[in-house]
């Protein structure tokens, strides 16, 4: 038979959950092995980097790229894989929108380091900080510099498809792999470039079994401070559930498990700024016309920016807090 198409998976600034999610397709992983020549997959196998370099541009058919762009390293490899891959997929929340690590964009990078090196258990009288290029007796050793802000994959290279989720649900991954295999066998068409794959067009509410009524928020509550009604829409109970704005695809796992949706599947089809949308929705159904009362109700949302940009600060219009953005300009 002719040479199998090449498959690659790479993690940049990721937690590894995406890899686990892929491993969690279980037997399907053997289909991948059967249909693809896995040339490159750090977590699961060894491979020669020089081989990847040596490959012709575009010789990798499919690359699943997960993780955000935290340092020059990530950025460099993103560019390399873009060059080598026919189809580059932003895989998982980090690559799509920055995910939880993107919350770092609320603060300047130096603060991150300072905090870590001055915790209660850190014995650091000399205020030691990591130095990116250090002269040791044996020679100079270096560590990469962190970028001022965490970036999403498409802020660095051109992306063909987006696959959201933290991590993408395994059944969605399996479906996408099936699709690609079908395409290889000429049984299916690839979606248009730029499409979101492995997810639906609507929102988590679509899969949420809870009963929903007209919304009127008189109070925002905290999930641990009440026994929430398991049958009723959490938002109607004042629990800030991100389901209404979050793309369908997970099957409403968290709400069905009694927890509020925290928005890991990112914005729904055609939404430009997830946080703006969600805050607009929440605010619109606040049941008051009095500024003071509105403020009182909003006091119940103890961390609005975190609530609305938990997963996609890096991918939002504002990208990062003002001081952080300004720190990028020198």
């Amino acid at each position: 038979m002719t040479e199998k198409p090449k498959f690659a998976m790479y993690w940049a600034a990721a937690c590894g959950g995406c890899e686990i999610a892929v491993l969690n397709i279980h037997e399907k992983i053997l289909d991948v092995d059967a249909n693809f020549d896995v040339v490159f997959w750090p977590v699961a196998m060894d491979a020669k980097y020089k081989d990847v370099e040596a490959m012709e541009d575009g010789s990798i058919l499919l690359t699943l790229f997960n993780g955000g762009i935290r340092n020059s390293e990530n950025e460099h490899i993103a560019k390399l894989l873009r060059q080598k891959s026919k189809i580059l997929v932003a895989f998982g929340s980090c690559a799509n929108e920055g995910c939880i690590p993107g919350l770092a964009n609320f603060t300047q990078v130096q603060e991150l380091v300072d905090t870590a090196f001055s915790t209660i258990t850190t014995d650091n009288p000399d205020q030691v900080r990591p130095i990116t290029s250090l002269e040791m007796p044996e020679g100079t050793i270096q560590i990469p510099t962190l970028l001022p802000i965490l970036k999403t994959l498409d802020q660095v290279v051109d992306v063909d498809y987006y696959m959201p989720g933290c991590p993408p649900e395994s059944h969605q991954i399996a479906a996408v792999i099936d699709l690609v295999i079908q395409v290889l066998q000429g049984k299916a068409e690839l979606p248009p470039k730029g499409a979101v794959i492995g997810a639906g067009a609507s929102t988590v509410c679509d899969d949420c079994k809870r009963t929903r009524n007209v919304k009127k928020i008189t109070e925002f509550g905290r999930i641990q401070l009440k026994h929430a009604d398991p049958e009723l829409c959490l938002l109607e109970q004042g629990i800030p559930c991100n389901g209404p704005a979050t793309r369908q695809g997970c099957g409403a796992l968290c709400p069905s498990a009694g927890a509020q949706c925290i928005g890991c599947y990112g914005p729904a089809q055609g939404v430009i700024d997830y946080g703006a949308r969600l805050s607009s929705a929440f605010a619109s159904v606040i049941d008051s016309k009095e500024p003071q009362e509105i403020e009182r109700i909003l006091d119940g949302l103890v961390d609005p920016a975190g609530q609305f940009y938990r997963f996609n600060l890096a991918g939002s219009l504002l990208k990062a807090s003002l001081p952080t953005v300004r720190s990028t300009v020198k």
Partner: protein
């Protein structure tokens, strides 16, 4: 002075980078094991509501999110001074035991195991899970997959999701389990016990049956006489979810046990300017640099540490293996790092037994899985045993329960110093006269792969692999050879 860069170390979760400096004779002068990134969870978790910590810190590591979820949940309980009802604790530990089975399986068969099963100097391309499957046969592949599937199924049943569970909140859980789910979980648990026994047998056949490997394990290359810590229950038996942390000296004597609230009296972290990761050590002993022995505060927290730090296992089959383990390796404590692989399998068996124990508890299906906190939130500490070491989360909040300060000492971090030492020692004994090949390099990697280090966790940094590159320079600093290996 020659220099070798191993960048990154492969088949561990996250980053790692090794600088090896050779002297004029081409022998190893020094090594630096660097963690090139830092994510700053301690900073950006500030300002978030404490009930989100189990969801946010999940994302420190997607390989062991359950560990962070649990530590965070326990810390959040403490912040609210609320004690979850027994059923909630049972459910959390049940989830956690199932997770342990999955995680230890993954490591043994996909990450650490290949070194043994394929042999340390086997061709790079074969030293991976697929290689293992090809060698041991599809049957084992199927079993490994089955084990991981079962583990994640239970995690999803209780935790709501396979990866990054979401159900733990201050005071307990957002949901319980039904009787039919319980039955499913029980049958899976019983299968897990068989699988654990099967794995121990495989280890016995492939590794213990192979003199070369046994020598490798018992050999001095991979031996350090350090302190060991691990969580134990009130009978001083290994427990992953709750209890006190037992600290054992290189000579096997117990230095003491500390409760979560006391961790700052016991643990401190030493910074070095050439890495983003800090080096924890025993405060009472003090930081003496990268040395072992009674006077050095360097300690290890791994499956082996837990076994060393405890008086035994809480379940019968595991207890039997526990005894066999120390008989074979010549009594407690065991200092040989490669024994961690074996210890891990014993823990796998314990976790499986514990799984069945918990799922058959009459209270497990009780609807009483959440206590509403009534106290004013202040400060709290949560400790669990992550597969890769003792995991400590410490939060301070304002009166609304919004986080104002965070401290995290994560599984692998505990082992940063010993890993560095192992690397140096391995390098010193394996690299002579500037003679380096991939097999040797891999044996250097084996030194730390045994710890199953997860630098995703460790650095709370944004992990992600970097190319492994070995640069060899001659005494004049001219590059005479470049070896690059990806991941």
């Amino acid at each position: 002075m020659q220099r070798i860069t191993i960048d990154p170390i492969t088949r561990l979760e996250g980053h790692g980078k090794i600088e090896i400096f050779l002297n004029e004779d081409g022998d190893v002068a020094n090594t630096y094991f660097q963690i090139p990134e830092l994510r700053g969870f301690e900073r950006f978790c500030v300002g978030r509501p404490v009930e989100e910590m189990p969801l946010l810190t999940n994302r420190i590591c997607g390989v062991c999110p359950e560990a962070h979820h649990m530590a965070a949940a326990k810390a959040a309980d403490a912040v609210y001074h609320v004690d979850p009802p027994r059923p909630a604790k049972l459910l959390r530990e049940l989830l956690y035991s199932a997770f342990y089975c999955t995680d230890h399986t993954t490591h043994f068969y996909a990450l650490g195991g290949p070194d043994f099963i394929m042999g340390p100097d086997a061709p790079v391309a074969e030293r991976n899970i697929l290689g293992v499957i090809h060698k041991v046969g599809l049957e084992i592949g199927g079993k490994v997959i089955q084990m991981r599937k079962y583990g994640h199924t239970v995690v999803e049943m209780i935790g709501g999701r396979k990866v990054h569970p979401c159900t733990s909140i201050p005071g307990g859980l957002t949901k319980g389990i039904t009787e039919e789910k319980r039955k499913e979980i029980e049958s899976m648990g019983r299968w897990a016990i068989e699988f654990a026994q099967f794995s121990l047998k495989a280890f016995a056949d492939i590794v213990l049956g192979n003199k070369q490997y046994v020598d490798l394990i018992l050999g001095d290359i991979y031996t350090h006489k350090t302190y060991y810590i691990g969580m134990v229950d009130d009978k001083n038996l290994v427990n992953f979810y709750d209890g006190k942390v037992s600290v054992v000296a290189p000579d096997g004597s117990r230095l003491g046990k500390y409760a979560p609230s006391e961790y700052t009296d016991w643990i401190a972290e030493h910074p070095e300017p050439w890495t983003y990761l800090k080096f924890p050590y025993l405060k009472k002993i003090g930081w003496k640099g990268f040395v072992d022995g009674m006077d050095s505060g360097v300690y290890m927290a791994t499956p082996l540490s837990r076994l060393n730090a405890a008086d035994g296992m809480a379940t019968p089959l595991a207890q039997a293996e526990y005894e066999k383990f120390y008989q074979t390796l010549g009594g407690k404590p065991v200092h040989q790092r490669l024994a961690i692989h074996w210890a891990r399998l014993i823990e796998l068996l314990y976790a499986a037994e514990r799984w069945v124990e918990l799922v058959t508890d009459p209270e497990i299906t009780s609807p009483n899985y959440h206590t509403i906190p009534t106290e004013k939130p202040t400060e709290g500490i949560g400790i669990v045993e992550a597969p890769r070491g003792t995991l400590t989360h410490h939060y301070w909040t304002d009166e609304r329960g919004v986080v104002t300060k965070v401290n995290l000492i994560v599984g692998t971090t505990n082992n940063y110093a010993p890993i560095s030492m192992s690397i140096k020692k391995a390098a010193q004994s394996l690299i002579k006269k500037g003679n380096v090949n991939e097999g040797l390099l891999n044996m250097v990697e084996m030194a730390f792969r045994a710890y199953d280090p997860c630098f995703g966790c460790a650095t709370h940094s944004l992990p992600g692999q970097m190319p492994l590159q070995v640069n060899i320079y001659n005494a004049n600093g001219e590059q005479v050879r470049v070896m690059k290996q990806y991941c």
